[in-house]
């Protein structure tokens, strides 16, 4: 056997290993979630019921929408935004105020989403200049939180005599609108990420910034695009959230940022960027909500639930990371 043949066989072996690890990585979570559904349906009373499944999907929807949006930021190599909560609350406050002023939930939603996008654009621009994402988003989070506290004086913000609930309460076949919006938003994000030039640019920027720059991709433009997509998701989630609760307050949604980060990580998106998918992040959010619901139905005490969920998240993230490393050797 010649040296060239040996090298060729070696490359074929490596390619085969990569394909196998990629397959495991891509299908591990969907298979796991199907397994959880099957086992829970067979063993946990009250699980396989319309109300339970609807509850899981509804609880997934808001976290899931933001996780899908956050995927763009992470994919582009910009880690995570840690200012999700304050941007969402700000957008929610705008939704109520504009709704109260105009009497239209559609106008209110449009302005609230635009407000979120503007905040995202500014953050994207600063990060695009080369500043650290964590520091920029934490600082913005603090500024926005302070602004909300000043503007609202810490009061509960709610609309009087205006119906702003429609986005959350409208149902089709007994399924609330936020679930449909979650599915459509995820599909749209998947298409943009996987089948458009800007999506490929985001992937490449996250994989290797220098190569991306040498290929003519603008790190600034791509980063701004990623933050725009992310802030759009925050605006949508904020409208749905505020619509659901009929009110919003400065210190609401304290756990949203970490829930979103957990969903993205469980979904298998590489923290370093370049590898991941919005669909996987959506499945990550669904997985966390499903496991939580199963544990509630099994009457597992809350402290133990957080412990188990934490262990599962860490285990999944470690396994997915090891598989990714094995696939790139």
């Amino acid at each position: 056997m010649t040296t060239t043949e040996k090298i060729s066989i070696r490359f074929q072996d490596l390619s085969s290993v990569r394909r196998r690890t990629d397959a495991v990585r891509n299908w591990a979570l969907p298979i796991l979630i199907v397994l959880v559904f099957v086992v829970a349906s067979a063993t946990v009373p009250e699980f396989f019921k319309f109300e339970t499944i609807r509850s899981i999907l509804l609880l997934t929807s808001i976290t899931g929408i933001v996780a899908v949006g956050m995927t763009a930021v992470t994919l582009s190599g910009n880690l995570f935004s840690l200012g999700v909560t304050s941007s969402a609350v700000f957008s929610g406050v705008i939704y109520v105020w504009v709704g109260q002023a105009t009497g239209s939930m559609y106008a209110a939603a449009a302005v609230a989403i635009v407000a979120a996008v503007v905040i995202g654009l500014v953050q994207g621009f600063i990060v695009g200049l080369g500043l650290n994402t964590v520091i920029v988003t934490l600082a913005f989070g603090s500024i926005i939180y302070g602004l909300i506290a000043i503007l609202t004086k810490g009061e509960v913000v709610q609309a009087q005599g205006v119906n702003l609930e429609g986005f959350a309460t409208f149902q089709i076949f007994g399924i609330p609108l936020p679930i449909y919006i979650f599915v459509v938003f995820t599909a749209l994000a998947w298409f943009l990420t996987e089948h458009t030039l800007i999506g490929r640019n985001v992937h490449l920027l996250g994989s290797n910034k220098n190569t991306a720059r040498n290929s003519g991709i603008s790190p600034m433009g791509t980063t701004i695009w990623a933050f725009t997509a992310f802030s759009l998701s925050i605006g949508i989630a904020a409208v749905l959230q505020t619509s659901q609760m009929h009110q919003i307050q400065a210190d609401n949604l304290p756990g949203l940022t970490m829930d979103v980060v957990a969903a993205v990580l469980v979904g298998g998106t590489a923290v370093t960027g370049g590898d991941g998918s919005p669909v996987k992040s959506a499945i990550g959010a669904l997985f966390i909500a499903t496991i939580t619901q199963v544990m509630v139905l099994m009457s597992i005490p809350e402290g133990q639930r957080y412990f188990v969920l934490g262990v599962i998240v860490v285990a999944l993230v470690v396994v997915l990371h090891l598989l990714r490393k094995a696939g790139t050797r």
Binding site: T52, S55, G154, E155, V156, Q244, Q247, L297
Partner: protein, 387 residues
């Protein structure tokens, strides 16, 4: 036995040294109990603060309840002739500890210190340090036994046990009303099935105390389906908790959902409706702290709240301190202040060591006519509740 001159000198020096040492020790021991404590021991004899400083340490007033309490405390301090100064922390006991150390180091003199510890169990060292420079009152969070020896004035403020107790009584009242109306409950033996939504996951003392008091009142009169903790203490946290818990008990039939705050109750209303229930018709919500939007209470989706007024709490802590400083003592025991329509005049009597706020029930029927200490319901809540 005779003394020579040398021995006499030695004896004289020894006597002077011992006397000097004794005088010094006496002076030192007087100094260690601090001038504030000494004056407090006899009392100033006047309820007028005469410009003396009340130092308040508490978590951030970005929370609407704390903002209203702080505002009320400052107003009452001014009314009683004190000056007041508030130091806020971002819900961080370590930060509060550091602020206390820094304040002590400034040497500023205060007539009394009022501390809302972020974590009562972890605030003992700070309370001990504060007790060296001024008499201390603890508020909002019950005194931990380890801190008790260092708290000269006592505790004033909210009673989580009282709120849980009143929520239980309101639940029984609702059951009586429904029974008289011929409502059929879903529990075994015709008992009402009750689900409780709690503050925190069983490790938050306020949630545990409220649950304990609630269950003590309703024991044997309801069938407890379960207690579900809310990870965050807002409407969204309760919505999430209730959304996962309600499907579990839907088939058994949920008659009453007891929620530890009205704000959380607003989230539970949404969760119940999303699961096909109609609050006020086929499920009934009794709640604790009267915070957040009152729209669901006024429309009948929530049947009752329990008054927890930040305005009363802020006012009460200053009044208790004023009485302590005037009389120089506090009396052992526990008292819950009455729900008087007009504020009783402050008297020159020693305050009770544990002074709790009143916990009357708030309903759609009485919210409009509420009057305590001259304030209506929304004035009592400051900005912590809205229509």
């Amino acid at each position: 036995m005779g003394f020579n001159k040398k021995d006499m000198w030695k004896t004289a020096v020894a006597v002077v040294a011992v006397a000097g040492l004794a005088i010094t020790m006496t002076a030192c021991s007087g100094g260690s109990s601090s001038s504030d404590a000494t004056s407090a021991a006899s009392g100033t004899g006047s309820l007028d603060g005469k410009g003396a400083l009340l130092k308040i340490f508490m978590p951030s007033t970005s929370n609407v309840y704390l903002a209203a309490a702080a505002k009320a405390a400052a107003a009452e301090a001014k009314a009683q002739g004190f000056t007041s100064s508030i130091v806020e922390n971002n819900w961080d006991q370590t930060e509060e500890d550091q602020q206390i150390q820094e304040w002590i180091a400034t040497g500023e003199k205060a007539a009394a210190v009022m501390i809302w510890p972020v974590s009562a169990k972890n605030a003992t060292a700070s309370i001990r340090a504060l007790s060296e420079v001024a008499p201390v009152l603890q508020w909002n969070q019950l005194i931990d036994p380890a801190s008790d020896p260092f708290i000269k004035i006592g505790y004033a403020g909210v009673s989580d046990l009282g709120i849980g107790d009143q929520t239980g009584k309101d639940t029984l009242t609702q059951i009586d009303t429904l029974t008289k109306a011929g409502y059929k409950f879903h529990g075994p033996g015709g008992l009402p099935n009750v689900l409780e939504i709690q503050l925190g996951s069983g490790d938050y003392s306020a949630g545990v105390d409220r649950d304990t008091a609630f269950q003590a009142v309703v024991k044997g009169k309801v069938n407890m389906l379960g207690v579900e903790g809310a990870k965050t203490f807002d409407a969204q946290g309760a919505f999430t908790a209730a959304s996962t818990a309600i499907p579990k008990y839907l088939s058994a039939g949920i008659d009453i959902i007891a929620v530890q705050t009205n704000d959380m109750g607003n989230g539970v209303v949404q969760a119940a409706e999303q699961n096909g229930l109609t609050p006020g018709k086929d499920v009934f919500l009794t709640t604790g702290t009267s915070s957040g939007s009152m729209a669901n209470l006024q429309s009948g989706k929530i049947t009752s709240d329990v008054l927890q007024s930040p305005v009363i709490e802020g006012t009460l802590i200053v009044d208790v301190v004023a009485q302590y400083l005037a009389t120089g003592s506090s009396v052992d025991g526990t008292v819950t202040i009455a729900s008087d329509a007009a504020k009783p005049a402050l008297t020159m009597t020693a305050p009770t060591r544990h002074t709790f706020m009143m916990n009357p029930s708030v309903t759609a029927a009485n919210i409009g006519s509420f009057k305590i200490w001259g304030w209506d319901f929304f004035a009592l809540m400051g900005d912590a509740a809205s229509k």
